[in-house]
Amino acid sequence: MPAVTETREAVETLGQSTYKWGFETDIEMEFAPKGLSEETIRFISARKQEPEWMLDWRLQAFRAWQAMEEPTWQKPEYPAIDYQDAFYFAEPKKKPGPKSLEEVDPELLRTYEKLGIPLHEQAILAGVEGADQAERLPVAVDAVFDSVSVVTTFRKTLEEAGVIFCPISDAIREHPELVKRYLGSVVPVSDNFFAALNSAVFTDGSFVYVPEGVRCPMELSTYFRINARNTGQFERTLIICEDRATVSYLEGCTAPMRDENQLHAAVVELVAMNDATIKYSTVQNWYPGDENGKGGIYNFVTKRGACRGRNAKISWTQVETGSAITWKYPSCILAGEGSVGEFYSVAVTNNRQQADTGTKMIHLAPNTRSTIIAKTISAGHSDSTYRGLVRMMPKARGARNFTQCDSLLIGDQCGAHTVPYIENRNMTARVEHEATTSKISEDQLFYCRSRGLSEEDAVGLIVNGFCKDVLKELPMEFAVEAQKLLQLSLEGSVG
């Protein structure tokens, strides 16, 4: 699947929802009563035609959430969120979009241009009226672009392989035994404030089940989900890999996504059994707000994977360039002997963006291994924090961890912070951690400039080099776009 499919995902997402530049509050919707209460949750559950046990589970989460306090230990600061002043279930209705590309915010179009998105796709992305129908036809000639046929073809392939891949609300109805068994088993309902909130009110997300011995025949992406185009504010993803199964899952999109919801509190749970491998890649480019950080997305996500079986492997790769605040720690619980956890991250902040991200590697079993490579780039007035935990429990004989955190500061008004926690309870476990903070060296810049590169291109080149260790972990087509994205995110930060 070429990179365009990712763009395509955005096309779908945006084309179907009430997307418009910036935020709108007066969108016409079918919604649950404002505020968060048992009634709201019952309403959501009923609308989703959920079984009784699911409702109980949500209510349990809600009660846990009510008893919890919003955390304050994080580095990013944000104004208090009024959880009663929001809608928790909304089916957006289509509303008129811009009539033509001329009406679209020129800033947005410029961004599309830089990402190399064809003109007709730009129109769909920007939600120009009629664009998604009229312009889709010529695209449909290309098999890759025809969402319906692509989805059908892939659905068939997946079905033949025995892979279940569907919206989580379908899974709750169609595969209750699997959902019941695994949902909340990695991130319990009362795990943390935002996970509890998500558990109570989540409305959509993906469900993936790869049966024993199956190598998923293709990379899975949120794009291929039918009926789940509006991913919503509280997304819930559950991926299960049985013995010797393998799956690679892509989330996100390189094109800038606009959303009317400011708070995004998603939960992702991964379960890997014996010799199973899950690779989860994210490219996040949500709306970061304007130059003064106004109106950007709060991306508060709980992501955790459990390596339950022997030699299981979970690998997180993320490129985080968007959102006003990115706050998440994709983690691995290494419970199976010889299991492996990996975390590769690039976090870029510019203007007034704030990021507090990192990982947790909990080594429970012998001979478990983990690798953490985190690259942080701060520019403008932004603040970026790496926060991570490596914990070796008493039974983690012979466990290994290697952590490398590098920060790059561009400009003297930004901040880069590193907060690693290292806890070792087993003498045979070995933990290594190193961190550096630096700026782009004058030598490197001079070298590039003297070969005719503009300052911006030179910075882009150097930053890409700085992130190479992480970018090479991305699926190839993703990596190409991610490189462009990095350069774009740092635009205006030099010179």
Binding site: W73, M392, P394, S407, L409, I410, G411, D412, Q413, C414, G415, A416, H417, T418, V419, P420, Y421, I422, E423, N424, R425, N426, M427, T428, A429, R430, V431, E432, H433, E434, A435, T436, T437, S438, K439
Partner: protein, 405 residues
């Protein structure tokens, strides 16, 4: 937040003795730091909270002399200041003529629980100034505690170095019994001055030691410290260093050698508040039995502190199944033209190194001792004063023989 915390035995006993004032009020409100306080998550004072501490008994001169001979023989000659049970023993004290004793005026740090506790129960400690340009040589600061009942001392020391003055402070903590020692040391290093602070903490293994060092360093000044922690059941050595002038330097080096169920915490916050400053930190933990080592080190670089050079290394050697280490090296950086790095490694002795030595006929125990000593050498070798190095080395040697024999 004005309501007070529940009155624990420790807090009750402290408040009964505390001086009236802000520190006492803060203490009553905050209590002793517990796990929910991020800076104390690895060293909550839960057990300390259960003990009611009394003021220590007066000790006669004869007893004081005997204690000094027994617990700190290295301080029997030369310039020294001796405190026994929180009180100065003038007969055992001898200071160089060039230094001036001053009235203490150490600030209360409301957000530092150790400063609050020390201020609330403050006992006058050593408070001296080395005048400009004076090379004061070495002064030994000896703090001893003796008492079978749980007693506590809260000495407040203050050392001020005027412009281009130099001093080596050999700081020895020791004692007998299940006491609490809670000293504070306020250091002020003026332009071009140089303070070397070598500390040997060899408290009784039933004791608790909670020390706070608050150092501010001016342009071209240096605060060079090394702490060797051998004693106490529970200890925390907290260093706050503020680099306030260009080209100031701070070294916060340490080695913690722990066995049994000892718990030792080295916490440092180094603030780079001026350009061109330099901070260096090498901290080593050697942990045997069920010992628990903690390292928390933060380097804070202010926006104006361009050209900062900060380096921090902490390593732990676990020599037993039950030993544990918690380490949190932290960088908070707001200036772009800086060179800051930290590294941390945790693990057991390297099997290959052991094999190398054993293959050459070195017995297992000797090989192990060699490797541990080599591990410590990185930190110890940073002590440039030969006599001080010899003392520290001898302490390490004695500790090791004691464990292995």
């Amino acid at each position: 937040m004005s309501e007070s915390v529940a009155l624990s035995p420790a807090l009750g006993s402290f408040l009964a003795r505390a001086h009236e004032g802000e520190a006492r009020e803060l203490l009553a409100r905050q209590g002793l730091p517990q796990r929910r306080l991020e800076a104390w998550r690895y060293t909550p004072l839960r057990d300390v909270d259960r003990i009611g501490f009394e003021p220590p008994a007066h000790v006669s001169l004869g007893e004081a002399e005997a204690l000094l001979a027994r617990l700190a023989p290295e301080a029997r000659s030369g310039f020294r200041v001796v405190f026994v049970n929180g009180v100065l023993v003038p007969e055992l004290t001898r200071l160089p003529e060039a230094v001036i004793l001053t009235a203490p005026d150490a600030p209360l740090l409301a957000d530092r629980p150790l400063s609050v506790l020390n201020s609330a129960l403050q006992q006058p400690g050593l408070s001296l100034t080395v005048p400009a340009g004076v090379e004061a040589g070495q002064i030994c600061l000896v703090s001893l505690v003796s008492g079978e009942e749980p007693v506590s001392t809260h000495l407040a020391h203050q050392v001020t170095l005027e412009k281009e003055a130099t001093l080596t402070l050999l700081d020895i903590q020791s004692g007998e019994g299940a006491y609490l020692a809670n000293p504070s040391l306020t250091v002020s290093v003026a332009e071009g001055a140089h303070l070397t602070h070598l500390r040997v903490q060899q408290d009784d293994v039933r004791a608790t030691n909670l020390t706070l060092v608050n150092a501010s360093i001016a342009e071209h000044g240096t605060y060079d410290s090394f702490t060797l922690t051998l004693g106490s059941r529970l200890s925390r050595h907290e260093v706050l260093a503020h680099l306030g002038g260009k080209h100031a330097t701070v070294h916060v080096n340490a080695a913690q050698l722990l066995a049994g169920t000892q718990h030792a915490d080295l916490t440092s916050v180094i603030t780079h508040a001026a350009p061109d400053c330099n901070s260096r930190q090498t901290v080593k933990n050697v942990l045997m039995d069920a010992a628990h080592g903690v390292f928390q080190g933060k380097i804070y670089v202010d926006r104006i502190a361009q050209k900062t050079d900060g380096y921090q290394m902490n390593q732990a050697l676990l020599l037993s199944e039950k030993a544990q280490i918690d380490s949190k090296p932290e960088l908070e950086i707001y200036a772009d033209d800086v060179k800051c790095s930290h590294g941390a490694t945790v693990g057991a002795l390297d099997d290959e190194q052991l094999f190398y030595l054993r293959a050459r006929g070195v017995p297992y125990d000797t090989a192990k001792a060699m490797l541990v000593r080599a591990f410590l050498l990185d930190a110890l070798s940073l002590v440039t004063d030969e006599a001080a190095y010899a003392l520290l080395d001898q302490r390490v040697e004695a500790w090791w023989l004691n464990r292995e024999g």
